[in-house]
């Protein structure tokens, strides 16, 4: 069998090379789950037939993906390993408390590929809910496992899965700063750029092909946009004074940025090529941290125009405006807003009792909910399906990534062994979604 999985075609060789040069540079992120939801879906993930032959087993990745959402409870599969519908003894799984059973197998395919066949079986109706076959290069097995997890998630919850998305964040080790991109589970981390000066505020382009960020390499903050595949980058906002807080318009053509060259910190709009500068906000105070609504009609931002930093919303009208609607009223420090993809709520950092915590607020009802209980949370961003929020927090003086479910019931840490990790941003859904 082993010879089967080696690369024999040119195509396979190419994939192997890609894998080698994209190997993780740093320790993987580890996931810890604590806290728990009340009504989790009990699901059994039976190890797929022949997956032990692969360099990367499939079902542990699937299980970890599902567990991180806080929506599932894994049922022990010991003593039973069906791989086909005929082998599934539904009464047995009913006794174990499973609502659904996932079965599958891995079949060799040509050219360094394997075919992953799997089915989601409903225990109550003894029927198949979903069945799919994916052909994938043996170098992309984690990506394939995330795809399978997406299908299972979508089948059992009705929501779109986000396991095939990516995240960006900044890793500081010693005096080095790396802007990294990783899979949503923290694996396959790659540095997009490394430098000895700080990098903050990475923001994904809506199509997931570019990152905007702020670099201090010129002794002051400058906004850059970098293409991930080519690593080509350009300064989009490098005006006199400070340039920061990039946010993409939903059509990917413009960036909202914060500039200080005309006095104060104010929000401007600029084309992605750096042309067409236009002022949006006008206040005597600080206006920063813009976040576009999904329809592009509004911008949420942080402003201290009322005396303390609060979240405001202004329409994007094409001309500058001093008018904005204040949205947060609890406490005297509410910052870093990020719109949910349905445009109905936003996540932000709320300070109370000296703690900085992740909160969400409905825009219509103004109902606020605090989701975390740590000390120093920063930079929250919604998953593209709105079900989880990625943020940075601090443990023992070290910055780590954490994620919390939208209801606050499940939290998890994604940690690196050494170094400070901060400024996370959850990327968009892949194009094929």
């Amino acid at each position: 069998m082993s010879s089967f999985f080696s690369s024999k075609s040119i195509r396979g060789t190419v994939f192997i090379l890609l894998w080698l040069i994209s190997a993780p540079l740093y320790a993987q992120l580890n996931i810890e789950i604590f806290g728990g939801g009340t009504s989790r879906i009990p699901v059994a993930i039976v190890p797929f037939a022949e997956e032990g032959q692969l360099s990367q087993t499939i079902t542990p990745v699937i299980s970890a993906d599902l567990m991180r959402t806080g929506l599932f409870r894994l049922i022990d599969t010991a003593g039973s390993s069906p791989h086909t519908p005929a082998e599934v003894v539904f009464s047995d799984w009913a006794n174990r408390g499973a609502n659904a059973v996932v079965i599958g197998r891995v079949v060799p395919a040509s050219g360094g590929h394997v075919e992953i066949q799997f089915r989601v079986m409903d225990v109550a109706t003894k029927s198949q809910l979903a069945g799919l076959s994916l052909t994938t290069p043996t170098t992309q097995l984690r990506a394939a496992a995330h795809r399978v997890a997406d299908v299972i998630y979508e089948t059992l919850t009705g929501d779109v899965g986000v396991f095939s998305t990516r995240i960006a964040y900044v890793l500081k080790r010693g005096n080095k700063y790396a802007l990294q991109v990783a899979d949503a589970d923290g694996y396959n981390a790659q540095s997009i750029i490394e430098y000895t000066e700080p990098i903050i505020s990475p923001a994904w382009s809506p199509d997931g092909t570019q990152l905007a960020y702020v670099s201090f390499e010129d002794k002051k903050p400058v906004v850059y946009v970098q293409t991930l595949t080519t690593r080509e980058r350009r300064a989009v906002a490098s005006f006199k004074g400070s340039n920061s807080a990039p946010a993409w318009s939903p059509d990917g053509k413009k960036l909202a940025v914060v500039l200080t060259g005309q006095g104060g910190s104010q929000i401007f709009l600029v084309n992605v090529d750096g042309s067409g500068l236009q002022r949006l906000s006008r206040s005597p105070g600080i206006d920063t941290e813009p976040s576009f609504s999904p329809d592009g009609r509004y911008i949420l931002f942080t402003s201290d125009r009322g005396g303390s930093p609060q979240i405001y919303r202004m329409p994007v009208t094409g001309s500058e405006s001093s008018n904005a609607e204040r949205l947060t009223f609890e406490g005297n420090y509410n910052v870093s807003p990020d719109y949910s993809q349905d445009g109905r709520s936003f996540t932000f950092i709320h300070r109370h009792n000296g703690q900085f915590n992740v909160a969400v607020q409905e825009i219509g009802s103004r109902q606020m909910q605090i989701l975390t209980n740590s000390k120093f949370d920063e930079s929250p961003s919604f998953a593209p399906n709105g079900k989880m929020i990625l943020y940075a927090t601090e443990i023992n003086g070290h910055g780590i990534l954490s994620a919390v479910s939208r209801d606050g019931q499940t939290r998890q840490h994604l940690t690196v062994q050494t170094g400070d990790i901060r400024e996370p941003a959850w990327g968009p859904l892949p194009k094929w979604k």
Binding site: L18, I21, S22, L25, Q117, R119, G131, L132, T135, T136, P137, Q140, A143, V181, Q190, I192, I193, E194, Y195, P198, I200, S215, F216, E217, D218, K219, K220, P221, L228, T229, R233, A235, V236, A237, S238, F239, G241, S242, S244, V258, L259, T260, G261, Q262, G263, S265, V270, S275, I286, T288, E289, T302, Y333, V335, R351, F356, E378, R422, E423, W432
Partner: protein, 172 residues
Amino acid sequence: MRKFLSISMIVLLSACASQTTQPDDEMAGGAGGDGMSGSELMGSGSGRPGYFNQLNDPSNILSQRSVYYDYDSYTVKSEYRELVLAHARFLRDNPSASVILQGNTDDRGSREYNLALGQRRADSVRNMMTLGGARDAQIESVSLGEEKPRAYGSGETAWSQNRRTDIIYRGE
């Protein structure tokens, strides 16, 4: 009987660049316009003006380059007034000299909001320098927010060191 939908998995070529890199030097200029120009921080090392001797003479007040602030404050305290005004006079008398003022904050709260707070500190020094005779074009006030702390750790000792504006002459 197999009822599998057959989907060919789209090959998820890693969309990211795989090797780490240093930024390309030529990218630094960027977009300018609207009267705001890109920065030209690093002057040449050779042939630097003679006034740098004055600026770096420890007995000269011009060698003092940091203004510190109270918690949550952006006003230049009276004890730093003489220092700031001395630099203002120097800039007035040396029209070819120019400075970048870097505002800094402690590390509590949002990085971007702290960037804006640090800007306020740098702007307070700029305003005082302008009143003291320096020309606007000689001064660029920027913020490093909480990103470049002078002192690490939490607690008032470290925080008070980090609430400051640094005065840096171009070409230094």
